[in-house]
C-alpha cells in the first residue's frame, strides 16, 4: 500500500497552493470519478466479484480504456485473493496505486519542460487531429517560454483550414512575438522551411510550428506531416527537437489510435492533453502511456493563455482520484 499512502502524505504536507490549479481546473472531472470511487466503497462491506465489476466500470467511464482497465482490475482481484484483502477502501487504493505505478514505470524518465539546444533555435512541432486545440496550445506554450525570457517565434504551417493563419496571427499579436506565415494553400512544408530559416537568421530560442489538424488514417496528410519534419531538419539538424501530439480530454479510445499512428509517422516526444477543465477525465492518457510509453508533458485547463500547466502525475491522480477529502 506504500505508494498511495506516500502520495497522500506527500500532498497533505504540501501547501494547498501548489495543487490548487489542478484541483480547481479538474474540479468537475474529480468530483465524478473520486465520488464514484468513494460511494462504491461505502456500498460494500466486503469486496466481491460484483464490486470489481463496478470498479471496472468506473475506470472504463473515465476513458482509461478497456484493455488497461481489465488488466488493472484483474491484478487487483488476484492480489485481493492472495493477500486476503476484503476492505473496499484498501482495494480502491490498490487500484489507484496500480494506475500510478503503471504510468511511472512505463517508458523513460519524465521531463516535462522543453530542453533547449546549445546552438541555434530549438524547434517544437505541434500536431494532432482536427479541433483538439493545437493553435491555442501553441499560444499557451509561447506565453510560457516568453515569460521564461526566451525569444519565441511562431510558424503558421496550417495552410489548409480557413482562418487558421489568422487565428495564430491574432495570438502572435497578443503575445507580441514574431510569426512566419505562408500564402494561403501553399505547401505547409515550405512554410515550415521558411520558419526554420528565419528562426536561424533572427537567433530565436524557440520556434513553434503549428500544423493543420489531420485525422490519423489519412495517409496523404500523415506523409505531409513527415515531410514537414524532414524539411525542417534540412535547415536545422536534429529538428524538430520536440514534437507534441495534442489530445482532447473528451477523446475516447480513438486516442490510442491517434497516438500510435502519429508516433509511426513522426518522432513524438510528448502529449499535451487539452480541455481538462471540462467534465472529461482524460483517462486515455494512461492507456497511451501503458501501450506506447509516450508521456504527457503539459495539460490545458482553460481558454486563457495562462491556462497551461506542466503535467504532474501525482497531481493528476490526486486531482482525479482522491477528491475533496485530501484538500
Amino acid at each position: 500500500m506504500g505508494l498511495f499512502k506516500l502520495l497522500k502524505e506527500k500532498f497533505s504536507k504540501k501547501p494547498v497552493e501548489e495543487t490548487s490549479t489542478y484541483v480547481e481546473g479538474m474540479a468537475k472531472s474529480r468530483s465524478n470519478f473520486a465520488s464514484k470511487l468513494d460511494e462504491l466503497s461505502k456500498l460494500y462491506k466486503e469486496v466481491n466479484k460484483e464490486y470489481f465489476e463496478k470498479l471496472e466500470e468506473i475506470l472504463i467511464e473515465a476513458d482509461v480504456g478497456v484493455e488497461l482497465s481489465l488488466k488493472i482490475i484483474d491484478e487487483a482481484f488476484t492480489e485481493s485473493k492472495s493477500q486476503g484483502i476484503k476492505d473496499p477502501k484498501t482495494i480502491n487504493e490498490l487500484v489507484v496505486d496500480k494506475m500510478f505505478l503503471g504510468y511511472a514505470t512505463k517508458g523513460g524518465n519524465i521531463h516535462n519542460e522543453i530542453d533547449f539546444v546549445d546552438n541555434g533555435p530549438t524547434v517544437l512541432l505541434v500536431a494532432g487531429v482536427n479541433g483538439v486545440g493545437k493553435t491555442t496550445t501553441i499560444a499557451k506554450l509561447a506565453h510560457r517560454y516568453i515569460k521564461k525570457g526566451k525569444k519565441v517565434m511562431l510558424c503558421a504551417a496550417d495552410t489548409f483550414r480557413a482562418g487558421a493563419v489568422e487565428q495564430l496571427t491574432v495570438w502572435a499579436t497578443r503575445l507580441n512575438c514574431e510569426i512566419v506565415v505562408g500564402k494561403p494553400e501553399s505547401d505547409p512544408a515550405s512554410v515550415a522551411f521558411d520558419g526554420a530559416r528565419k528562426a536561424k537568421e533572427n537567433h530565436v530560442d524557440l520556434l513553434i510550428v503549428d500544423t493543420a489538424g489531420r485525422l490519423q488514417n489519412k495517409v496523404n496528410l500523415m506523409n505531409e506531416l513527415a515531410k514537414i519534419c524532414r524539411v525542417i531538419s534540412k535547415e536545422i539538424p536534429n529538428a524538430p527537437h520536440d514534437a507534441f501530439l495534442v489530445i482532447d480530454a473528451t477523446t475516447g479510445q480513438n486516442g490510442l489510435s491517434q497516438a500510435k499512428q502519429f508516433l509511426d509517422c513522426i518522432k513524438l516526444t510528448g502529449i499535451v492533453i487539452t480541455k481538462m477543465d471540462g467534465t472529461s477525465k482524460g483517462g486515455i492518457i494512461l492507456a497511451i502511456r501503458d501501450m506506447l510509453g509516450i508521456p504527457v508533458r503539459f495539460i490545458g485547463l482553460g481558454e486563457r493563455m495562462e491556462d497551461l500547466e506542466e503535467f504532474d502525475l501525482d497531481k493528476y491522480l490526486y486531482g482525479l482520484c482522491l477528491g475533496d477529502k485530501y484538500e
Partner: protein
C-alpha cells in the same frame, strides 16, 4: 488488438461461432464478452453496452431452434437488429418552414466542428434544395472564428452576416434573424462559440439566444472520437437548450463513433447529419440503419447504390452494360468506366462501402489509385485505332506510346494485360448472366479493371 474495428471484431466472433454446430451457454458467454469489449472499445457508453449484451443474450436464447440450424447467420441477424434498434430505424431530416426563414443554431464543445459544419450544411441546402442561405458568425470568442466563417462563405458563395467580435452574440443572433426575415432568406444558420456545458455564463448566453430567436432546430455537434463523457455533455446541453438533432463530425476518421450511438439510445435525440471529410461537400444525411450494417462489416451497400445512381446517368450505364455484355469492350471503355468509379469518390472510400473488402490497407488503396492514373495517361497516348483494337499493339507502337506517356514498355504491357483480364471478366460475367448467377443490371455497376486490380 485495440485497433481492430468493430466489424473486424464481429467478424472474428462470427468466425468462432461458425465452426460450431450449436450455440451453447458457454460459447455464448464467450461471444458476448467479445461483443462487450468491442463495443466498449468503440466508445459505446458502458450502460448501453450492458443493456445491449443482455438483450442479445435474451433474444439468442429465445431463438434456440434457428440457432441449431445456422448459428452464425442467426448471431449476425440478432446483433444487427439490436444495433439498428439502438441507432433508431429512420433517418430524420430537417423540417423547413414554409413562409419564413428556418432558423438553425449550431452548438457544442470546442473543436467539434461547428464552423465547418455550418458551411457544409449551407452548401448542402443550397446545392440540393436550392435554398437561399444566410450564415451568421456568432463566435466572438475564438480568435479568427469570424474570418473562418467568412472564408467558408466566400468559398461556397453563401452570404455571411457578422458584426465583428465586439458585439454580444445575442445581439448578433437578433440582427441576423432580422436580416434573414427582411431579405427573404430560406435558412439562417447561426454559428456559436464552442463552450463547456458546465460553463454557466456561456450556457446562459445560448439560452438567451434561444429565447430571442427561437431556433427551429438546435443541432449539437458531437465528435465521432469522443469518449464515455459524451453522454453527459449531450445531457447537459439538452437540459438547457432542448437539442433537436445531432451532427456527428469527423466520421471519416477511424473512430467508431460509439458515443454518438449512445447519445441516441439514452436521450432519443436523432443523429441527423454526419461529417465525412474535410471538403465542404463532405456532409451526409445520417442513415441509422445503414450505420449498423457498416459497423457489422456488411458494407454500406445502399449508400453505394445511391451514389452510383446519383453520379452516373442511368441510360448511359445501361448502354455500357449492353456493350460490355456483347463482348465489345475497348480500352476507351475501360478508362471511361474507371473515370466513373473515380467520380464516386476516392477508391479507398468506395472500397469501404463494398461488403467483404475490409482487408485493403490504406497503402494498397493509394497504390491502386495511382495505378488508375497511370493507366489513363498511357491510354491517352494511344491512337483511336489502338484504343479500339489493342491487339494491334506491337513493339514499335509500344515504344512510341511509352515515349509519349513518359512510361516504360513494361507499364504498357501491364495495361494491356489488365485490359485483357477485364475483357475476360466481362465475358465470364456474360456467361454468368446467361446462367442466371448474376442479376441483370449488375454489369453496369461493376467497374471493369477492378477485377484485375484485386
Amino acid at each position: 488488438m485495440a485497433f481492430e474495428s468493430l466489424s473486424e471484431r464481429f467478424q472474428k466472433i462470427i468466425k468462432k461461432v461458425k465452426g460450431q454446430t450449436r450455440l451453447t451457454e458457454s460459447n455464448m458467454d464467450e461471444m458476448l464478452k467479445e461483443v462487450r469489449i468491442a463495443l466498449l472499445e468503440a466508445d459505446v457508453n458502458f450502460k448501453v453496452v450492458k443493456e445491449f449484451t443482455e438483450s442479445i443474450k435474451q433474444k439468442a436464447i429465445g431463438e434456440e431452434v434457428y440457432l441449431k440450424l445456422n448459428p452464425s447467420q442467426m448471431v449476425v441477424k440478432i446483433v444487427h437488429d439490436e444495433l439498428t434498434s439502438l441507432l433508431g430505424s429512420d433517418s430524420s431530416e430537417l423540417i423547413y418552414q414554409k413562409n419564413k426563414p428556418t432558423v438553425i443554431m449550431l452548438v457544442g464543445l470546442q473543436g467539434t466542428g461547428k464552423t465547418t459544419s455550418a458551411g457544409k450544411l449551407a452548401l448542402l441546402m443550397k446545392k440540393k434544395l436550392n435554398k437561399k442561405v444566410l450564415l451568421a458568425a456568432g463566435d466572438v470568442y475564438r480568435p479568427a472564428a469570424i474570418d473562418q466563417l467568412k472564408q467558408i462563405g466566400s468559398q461556397i458563395d453563401v452570404d455571411v452576416f457578422s458584426l465583428g467580435c465586439d458585439v454580444s452574440p445575442v445581439e448578433i443572433a437578433e440582427k441576423a434573424r432580422e436580416k434573414a426575415f427582411n431579405e427573404h432568406y430560406d435558412v439562417l444558420i447561426l454559428d456559436t462559440a464552442g463552450r463547456l456545458a458546465i460553463d454557466e455564463p456561456l450556457m446562459k448566453e445560448l439560452n438567451d439566444i434561444t429565447n430571442d430567436i427561437t431556433p427551429d432546430e438546435t443541432l449539437l455537434l458531437v465528435d465521432a472520437m469522443s469518449g464515455q463523457d459524451a453522454i453527459n455533455v449531450a445531457n447537459a446541453f439538452n437540459a438547457d437548450l432542448k437539442i433537436s438533432g445531432i451532427i456527428m463530425s469527423k466520421l471519416d476518421g477511424d473512430a467508431r463513433g460509439g458515443s454518438a450511438l449512445s447519445i441516441k439510445y439514452l436521450t432519443g435525440i436523432p443523429i441527423k447529419f454526419a461529417g465525412v471529410g474535410e471538403k465542404l461537400t463532405d456532409l451526409d444525411v445520417f442513415h441509422p440503419d445503414r450505420m449498423a450494417d457498416r459497423i457489422l462489416g456488411m458494407g454500406d451497400v445502399m449508400t453505394l447504390v445511391e451514389k452510383v445512381q446519383e453520379e452516373i446517368d442511368e441510360k448511359e450505364a445501361r448502354k455500357d452494360a449492353a456493350k460490355m455484355m456483347s463482348g465489345e469492350f475497348t480500352l476507351d471503355d475501360m478508362v471511361a468506366q474507371m473515370k466513373k468509379v473515380q467520380k464516386l469518390g476516392s477508391l479507398g472510400g468506395l472500397m469501404k462501402l463494398i461488403p467483404g473488402m475490409p482487408s485493403l490497407t490504406e497503402e494498397q488503396k493509394l497504390v491502386a489509385e495511382k495505378e488508375m492514373k497511370n493507366l489513363e495517361v498511357i491510354v491517352n497516348s494511344m491512337t483511336p485505332e489502338e484504343r479500339r483494337h489493342p491487339e494491334i499493339l506491337k513493339n514499335s507502337r509500344k515504344v512510341r506510346i511509352a515515349k509519349g506517356s513518359g512510361k516504360t514498355n513494361a507499364d504498357i504491357n501491364r495495361v494491356i494485360k489488365k485490359y485483357e483480364q477485364s475483357k475476360e471478366m466481362m465475358k465470364r460475367m456474360k456467361q454468368y448472366q446467361k446462367s442466371g448467377k448474376v442479376p441483370p443490371g449488375m454489369g453496369g455497376m461493376l467497374p471493369p479493371g477492378m477485377g484485375g486490380m484485386m
